[in-house]
């Protein structure tokens, strides 16, 4: 193996590693975010069960719908990063 090929292979490995490192950072952040979202979802579901006021319930339902939609998107994204 020539010196030139060796250098090229080294550079390629470095690139792949960087991509892998990048994905790792993103996945780790996503896991944190998804965990927060799950906690928020549970909290909202609890609040919703307790709240009798129609207007407040509507707001909580909206918030819950947003969190669920974000979680769905987040989980799909996390899988695609594997």
């Amino acid at each position: 193996m020539t010196q030139k090929t060796h250098t090229m292979l080294k550079r390629l490995r470095h690139l792949i590693d960087r991509d892998r490192e990048d994905k790792k950072v993103k996945r780790s952040h996503l896991r944190e975010v998804l965990s927060d979202l799950r906690l928020r979802q549970r909290k909202l579901e609890r609040k919703l069960a307790e709240h009798p006021d129609r207007e407040k319930r509507h707001k909580l339902e909206n918030e819950l719908a947003v969190v669920r939609a974000q979680r769905t998107k987040g989980i799909a994204l996390c899988r695609s990063l594997k």
């Binding site: 952040h29 509507h58 909206n62 918030e63 947003v66 939609a69 974000q70 987040g74 994204l77």
Partner: protein, 604 residues
């Protein structure tokens, strides 16, 4: 407060006077008709402003003598020194003329206004001018009802002149008849005391009637009827000259610094001229007598001699003060300095930071936060809310049923002083930064520049809706008030979260948490459409209210959207990978629309 006591007192005194003396009634009616005539005349001439008058004013102020002559001629022609002063102030405020020529015009106007005394003394009291008044009134009123603006203007001028003549005739007849009942001349005070007392009376009468012309015509009528002593009449004329400046000073309290300076100059001129006239009264009387002989005015013609005296002492005032005009201007500029608008300067955008793109990016980020901090009270006040209320835990849903409330806040001037300079500085800085920025910093710089633009757009949107928001928030119609309050509540909620995200750096405010507010805002927009249909169908609001609400809701939702966009930039993680992930999970516009469609009922 003053008006609450003063006005009823004047009414009571007048009513008592009318009851006791029919002649007093005639004199008072004469004053009232005369003043109405002055107003009509002023309105008539005002029709022609915005054209010839302004052009003449602009072209005739390059030399001092021209300005002075202009003041004399314009006032003599229009018989209204206040109209000339008002136009001069407007030109001064607009920066079209300087203070020095403006003062020269006002000095000239003082001399020009004395032509009124000549006309009244020479014609008004000697000829039966009431006979001329009638045709003038008839022609004038016919012209007032014409469509053409110019004809209407001529109509008001003719009507004004007719009323002036009629007022003079009433006063003349009133004093003639009054003579048979009471001899006011018996109250004449001789010497210096009389001079001072009658000067004060003349000043007070002019302040009360807000017109030196009205005071002069009263003095002349009373003098012609022999009801007042000649020396006292001269003192009254001096008083009327001083009184008219007090009226100008009172009027200038509400104007800008230019108006105040001009009124100050006017007061200085008339006050000093009055003092000189009082001090030199015996000499002045001799000069008037000598000049009267020269001009062929009979010795017993006291009214014309008074007119001559009036012109003479104003002429002396001009001769004494005009050479000192520069010094007067300097004095006025020192006493009444222009308050420089305290525009907010950038705090972080330094030249040195530009050398290092990362440092410049950080400075730009901080400056954008600074801009938000400045915009925040403007936005809160624009919604008729205290900034403390927005920052507290106050439940904005309570705003919806809030009672009527008025508000007074100049959002435009706040924008000019607090935001415009800062916004300009940020735009300029980003431009320079982009010239040298690496691809990694270009994106964040562009995002921050967009954030500043969105922030200004939010302020502008609130400004546009504020007029209706304030008036409808004070309306008795519960439905329209409630809808505007709903918009206020929605915007206040967004503003609170935006502050927490952008300034407090609250970790709970993230790109993802903002999606909820985006959904709330969209939901509120959908709900408003439903409410609007209902209110229009059931005639709960007028068409004008409905269109205002439709336009203003667009402004409100634009402002909310822009504020959320700003927060998405400033509250986003600085790490690009984290930001990328948050943005990827954040819901798109269509996804938010889908969430609204999931509940067909919309908001309760």
């Amino acid at each position: 407060m003053l008006n609450r006591i003063f006005l009823p007192s004047v009414f009571l005194v007048l009513a008592y006077g009318f009851w006791v003396s029919p002649d007093f009634k005639a004199i008072s009616a004469g004053v009232a008709v005369f003043m109405l005539g002055m107003r009509a005349l002023e309105d008539g001439f005002r029709t022609f402003t915005g054209g010839v008058l302004e052009r003449v004013l602009q072209r005739s102020t390059d030399r001092q003598w021209k300005s002075l002559t202009l003041g004399v001629v314009a006032t003599a022609l229009m018989q209204s020194s206040s109209l000339v002063s008002v136009i001069t102030i407007s030109f001064l405020s607009a920066g079209l003329i300087a203070l020095s020529p403006a003062l020269a015009i006002v000095f000239g106007a003082n001399l020009g206004t004395t032509t009124g005394a000549w006309l009244i003394a020479g014609l008004g009291l000697k000829v039966d001018i009431a006979a001329y008044a009638m045709p003038m009134l008839v022609f004038g009123v016919i012209l007032i009802f014409q469509k053409a603006r110019e004809l209407r203007g001529v109509g008001w001028i003719l009507t004004g002149l007719g009323l002036l003549f009629l007022g003079i005739a009433y006063m003349k007849d009133g004093f003639e008849a009054f003579k048979s009942q009471i001899d006011l001349a018996a109250y004449a005070i001789p010497g210096l005391l009389g001079l001072i007392v009658y000067t004060l009376i003349g000043t007070a009468a002019t302040v009360v009637m807000q017109s030196s012309h009205a005071t002069l015509v009263l003095i002349l009528s009373a003098l012609a009827a022999g009801q007042i002593d000649y020396a006292n009449a001269l003192a009254l004329a001096i008083g009327s000259n001083i009184g008219t400046t007090i009226t100008a000073v009172l009027a200038s309290l509400g104007s800008n610094v230019d108006g105040k300076r001009l009124a100050g100059g006017h007061l200085l001129f008339n006050g000093l001229t009055g003092l000189v006239a009082i001090a030199a009264m015996p000499w002045l009387i001799r000069v008037v007598d000598a000049a009267s002989t020269l001009l062929g005015i009979a010795d017993h013609d006291l009214t014309l001699k008074l007119a001559l005296f009036h012109s003479l002492f104003n002429l002396i005032g001009i001769a004494l003060l005009l050479p000192w005009l520069k010094q007067i201007v300097r004095l006025l500029l020192r006493i009444l300095p222009a308050r420089e608008p305290t525009t907010i300067k950038p705090l972080y955008l330094s030249e040195s930071a530009l050398q290092v793109p990362e440092a410049a990016l950080s400075a730009l980020r901080e400056e954008t936060r600074h801009l938000f901090e400045r915009a925040f009270p403007i936005l809160a006040h624009g919604l008729n809310l205290h900034r403390e209320t927005v920052l507290s835990d106050f439940d904005f849903d309570k705003l919806v049923a809030a009672p009527p409330r008025k508000g007074d806040y100049d959002i435009e001037s706040e924008y000019e002083t607090d935001l415009k300079t800062l916004y300009g500085a940020i735009v300029e800085y980003t431009g320079r930064l982009l010239e040298t920025a690496s691809p990694a910093t270009t994106d964040p710089v562009l995002r921050l520049r967009s954030a500043t633009r969105w922030l200004v757009e939010a302020v502008k949107a609130i400004k546009h809706m504020r007029g209706n928001l304030v008036s409808y928030a004070g309306y008795r119609n519960d439905d329209i008030r409630t809808e505007y309050n709903r918009l206020r509540a929605m915007l206040a909620e967004v503003l609170r979260v935006a502050y927490r995200g952008c300034i407090d750096e609250d970790p709970n405010v993230t790109i993802l948490s903002l999606d909820t507010l985006r959904l709330h805002a969209k939901d509120a927009a959908h709900a408003l459409e439903g409410h609007l249909d209902h209110l229009i169908r059931h005639h709960r609001i007028t068409t004008a209210m409905a269109t205002s609400l439709m336009n203003d809701s667009t402004y409100a939702f634009t402002a909310a959207e822009r504020l959320l966009d700003v927060t998405r930039v400033l509250a986003a993680p600085t790490d690009s990978a984290h930001r990328e992930m948050d943005m990827a999970i954040s819901l798109s516009e269509s996804e938010i629309e889908q969430l609204i469609d999931r509940s067909p009922e919309g908001s309760p």
